[in-house]
């Protein structure tokens, strides 16, 4: 049941707990799945020079990002024995405490889902053209740097 057709990656605003619950629920019909590995990115209220990050505003180069996510999907499906794979990232404003990234990988045995999920998160941060603008109180901001 490899889902190689293009999947919607971007979500307007935060990814809600309810959205993730529906994602989990959908997989209950796939009874060959034994393990789900799920990574969630949450916006932190980091303090930078005494100013607190209140939200991150995400933008993307959508055509290139979708192509890049597609390449990561294909690579991970050939490398690991996984059954399902979902990647979601927010666009626009996501407040501190809210979720901006959800990678959800399902497999028969746990090690495939765990390794694939970790690899996707690493590649996504490096290869997918998304930019986060850290919004402080008022109108100030700075462009986020991934470490």
């Amino acid at each position: 049941m490899k889902q190689k057709k293009p999947q919607e990656v971007f979500i307007d605003g935060p990814i809600t707990a309810d959205f993730i619950a529906k994602l989990i629920q959908k997989h209950s019909t796939k009874m060959n799945i034994g393990a789900h590995s799920n990574f969630l990115g949450q916006v932190r209220n980091d303090k930078i020079n005494d100013q607190e990050v209140e939200a991150i505003n995400y933008t993307t180069y959508r055509e290139m990002a979708e192509q890049s996510v597609h390449e990561i999907r294909e690579a991970v499906f050939s490398k690991y024995s996984i059954i399902c794979l979902h990647i979601y990232h927010s666009l626009g404003l996501v407040k501190a405490g809210e979720i901006n990234l959800c990678v959800f990988v399902s497999s028969k045995h746990r090690s495939d889902a765990i390794k694939a999920c970790e690899e996707i998160v690493e590649r996504l941060k490096k290869e997918v053209p998304i930019w986060g603008k850290e919004m402080f109180d008022g109108h100030q901001y700075q462009w986020k740097k991934n470490t």
Partner: protein, 77 residues
Amino acid sequence: MKINLLSFGQVADIIGEANLSITDIQNTEELKDWLIDKWPKLQSIKYSIAINRNIIQENTELQNEDTVALLPPFSGG
């Protein structure tokens, strides 16, 4: 020859336009010089260049209707 120039993140902040149409630029080295000439602040900014969604590593000739994107370091995830 017409090139679509897209810019993102901090680069778009400096250029002030996310989408420009430019002419008479033959290759990416020439483009970089033209950009710094027009927006000197770009000199201090690190960015990659993608032609038609593929990041290039060295000087590349441009074709009519190419889409060239200026990409500061990614910070998604």
